[in-house]
Amino acid sequence: MSEHIVSPKIYVAIFLTLMAGTAITVWAAYQNFGAFNIVIALGIATFKATLVVLYFMHARYSPRRTQLVIVCSVFWLAIMLALTLADYQTREHTVGRLAPPVIFNLVRT
């Protein structure tokens, strides 16, 4: 079997990078970057997720067809997010301009 064995050294290096990423995320959340706070938070999270997929989940050493499945999952997620958000952004009556959900009004104290 031509299985690729990832060495513990790489695993520990990835782990330390993920820890550093978590620390930076918390630090950045306390800074006021305006609209960029969310961009930075999601950017770091995506970087961390990519490391987990590539090394912990061995995607980097997987056959092409497995890699294709992974890329497809991100692609379909992007379609769902992009089209739905485009719809909400371009319609006149969307969430927030409507009254709050009735159920939460009924139970308000």
């Binding site: 299985e3 064995i5 513990p8 993920l18 912990f56 499945v69 999952s73 709050p100």
Partner: protein, 243 residues
């Protein structure tokens, strides 16, 4: 009869057999990505529409506990990866040790989650008739720091000034908080069950360089659950910390 890694009739080679198992797990994970993706989408739309309420809700979460849990979960991913490595190089005892470490870390994560949920019950932050986002600021206990309570009150006043319906909208935040972390926790419980099954197998010395597919694919699942948390942590805990 337990599998030991023999070649089944419908595969050409052992390598193909193993790759097929991993591919099957990946296809399941694709459905999971879209499953959680729907929740993240709901979150995005509501956070955009009710940003003051989402910020106020997020600031009630305990960042120390959330941060601690993030560290614990990433550590459990490391021990899971190490369990796979141990099986691949034939260190049978290490496989058991790393799997046990993983399930222990997973249990610590769930335990901390219980503490956090309990706190939300105590502070009347469960969506429903008793929900009151001001409750904690107005009913501080002896353990609370007076300065922090005053700060919390002031922040809530500002948030209510921006959104008079804050108490209703914050319930959306907490519905999503409990829905998303609850679903994540459910995945952790399933993962812990799978780990216990793996540990049993590892005690029997079942995972070897020739046959370690179960460790590998449960590992894929466990790392996926870790990735979900990597996104949940900043999105739920860190919305509005810089004010």
């Amino acid at each position: 009869m337990h599998r030991t890694g023999e070649l089944y009739g419908h595969f050409e080679t052992l390598e193909q057999q193993k790759e097929s198992a991993a591919l099957g797990m990946w296809i399941f994970l694709v459905t999971e990505v879209l499953f959680f993706g729907g929740l993240f989408l709901t979150y995005t739309i509501n956070r955009h529409a009710f940003s003051a309420a989402f910020g106020a809700g997020s600031n009630t979460l305990d960042l120390t506990l959330g941060g601690f849990n993030t560290v614990v979960l990433i550590m459990s991913s490391l021990t899971m990866a190490m369990a796979v490595w141990s099986a691949q190089v034939g260190k049978k005892q290490l496989v058991s040790i790393f799997l046990i470490a993983t399930v222990v870390l997973g249990t610590i994560f769930l335990g901390v989650k219980v503490i956090e949920y309990k706190q939300k019950f105590d502070h009347h932050l469960i969506p429903g008739a008793g929900f009151d986002i001001r409750y904690h600021a107005e009913h501080p206990t002896a353990a609370d720091n007076a300065g922090k309570i005053a700060e919390e009150k002031e922040e809530l006043e500002k948030a209510f000034a921006k959104d008079p319906d804050l108490n209703a909208h914050a319930q959306l935040y907490f519905s999503l908080y409990f829905g998303m972390t609850g679903l994540h926790a459910l995945h952790m419980i399933v993962g812990a069950g799978l780990l216990v099954w793996l540990i049993k197998g590892s005690f029997a010395g079942r995972y070897t360089p020739k046959y370690n597919t179960p460790v590998e694919i449960v590992g894929l699942y466990w790392h996926f659950v870790d990735i979900v948390w990597i996104y949940l942590f900043p999105l739920l805990y860190l919305i509005d910390r810089h004010h």
